[in-house]
Amino acid sequence: MKILDAAIITFIKTDITPIRFMIGLSSLLWAAFSLLPGTLFKVKEVCANLFNNPDILNWFIFSEALWASLFFFHSIVIFTSLFTGKYDRFTLFADGVIGSFIWFFSVSLCILSHITIWAEFQPPAVLAAGITITLAQWWNLIMQWEKFPIAQKD
C-alpha cells in the first residue's frame, strides 16, 4: 500500500505542463487533419456496426467540421492557459471536461467502428496513441480538479 500511496502522491504532485502541451498539440493536429479529404471519422461505420442503420445516430454524432472545431477550441484553450498560466472555472470546464469528453468519445467511436465480430477485432496500430492521449487527458482533468476544487469555486 505504501507503494500505491507514493504513486498516487507522485501523480498528483507532478507538474503536468508537458502533458498539457502534448494534448494541445494532438488536438490541434486532429483539427488540421480534418481539412484533408476522405472520411476521417467513421461515423456511419459505427452506426452501421452498432445499430445496422447508418443514419440513426446522425442527429447525435456531430459532423466532422463540428468535431474539428471542438478540437481546435480545445487546443486554443490549452495553449492560452499554458502561456498565461491561468487556471479558473473556464479552463476546468473547457480544457478538462470538454477535452475529456471529446477525446474519450472520439477514441471510443474509433474502437467501436472496428468491432464487427469480437473474434475478428483488429484495431489499427495507431489506436494505442489515441488511448494514451485520452488517458493523459483524464489525468489532466483530475489535476485541474485538484487545482481548482468545487469548494474553491463557491
Binding site: T14, D15, I16, T17, P18, I19, M22, L25, S26, S27, L29, W30, A32, F33, S34, L36, P37, G38, T39, L40, F41, F83, S106, V107, C110, F121, Q122, P123, P124, A125, V126, L127, A128, A129, G130, I131, T132, I133, L135, A136
Partner: protein, 157 residues
C-alpha cells in the same frame, strides 16, 4: 519565445516519458490483438506500396522492440542509467520505432483514396514529436554532464 524554449529544455520529463512508456505498452497489446500493422494488408491488396514493406521487420520483432523500450523506460525510473544508454535506448530507439510506424503509415495513406489518413494519426504524430523532445533532452543532459566533467578535470589540473 525565449521563455518557451527555456521551458522546453528545463521541464521535468518524467510525465512525458511515463506517457511514452504507457503508449508503447498499449501498442504491444494492440499488436497482440492482431492489428493490421500499418494496414499493410490493405496496401498490398491495393498493390500500391507493397514493395515498401519488404525490408520491414515482422510483427513479432516489433513487439519485442516495443517491449524492450517499455522495460528500459520503466527501469530508468528506478535505476540511474548512464546518459549514453538513455540516449540510445530511450531516445533513439523510440524515434526509430515510432518514426518508422508513423512515417510508413502516412506513406501508405497518401495517394490512396480508399484508405484515408485516420484522425488518430494526430495522436501518433504527437507521440513521435515527444519522442524527439525526449531525445533532445537526453542529448542536452549528456552535453551538460560532459561539460561538468571537462570543468572538473580543468579544476583538477
Amino acid at each position: 519565445m525565449k521563455r518557451f524554449l527555456i521551458a522546453l529544455l528545463t521541464l521535468n520529463m518524467t510525465p512525458i516519458r511515463f506517457i511514452i512508456m504507457l503508449n508503447s505498452l498499449l501498442m504491444i497489446l494492440v499488436l497482440i490483438f492482431g492489428a493490421p500493422f500499418f494496414s499493410i494488408h490493405h496496401a498490398i491488396i491495393e498493390g500500391t506500396v507493397g514493395s515498401y514493406f519488404d525490408f520491414l521487420l515482422t510483427k513479432e520483432c516489433w513487439i519485442i522492440l516495443f517491449a524492450f523500450h517499455v522495460l528500459f523506460i520503466a527501469s530508468s525510473f528506478f535505476h540511474k542509467w548512464n546518459p549514453i544508454s538513455l540516449f540510445i535506448f530511450d531516445g533513439a530507439l523510440g524515434i526509430i520505432i515510432w518514426g518508422s510506424m508513423m512515417t510508413f503509415r502516412v506513406i501508405v495513406s497518401v495517394g490512396n483514396a480508399t484508405f484515408p489518413i485516420p484522425f488518430l494519426i494526430s495522436a501518433g504524430i504527437t507521440i513521435f514529436i515527444l519522442q524527439w523532445w525526449v531525445l533532445i533532452r537526453h542529448l542536452f543532459n549528456f552535453e551538460i554532464q560532459n561539460e561538468d566533467i571537462r570543468c572538473s578535470n580543468h579544476n583538477i589540473h
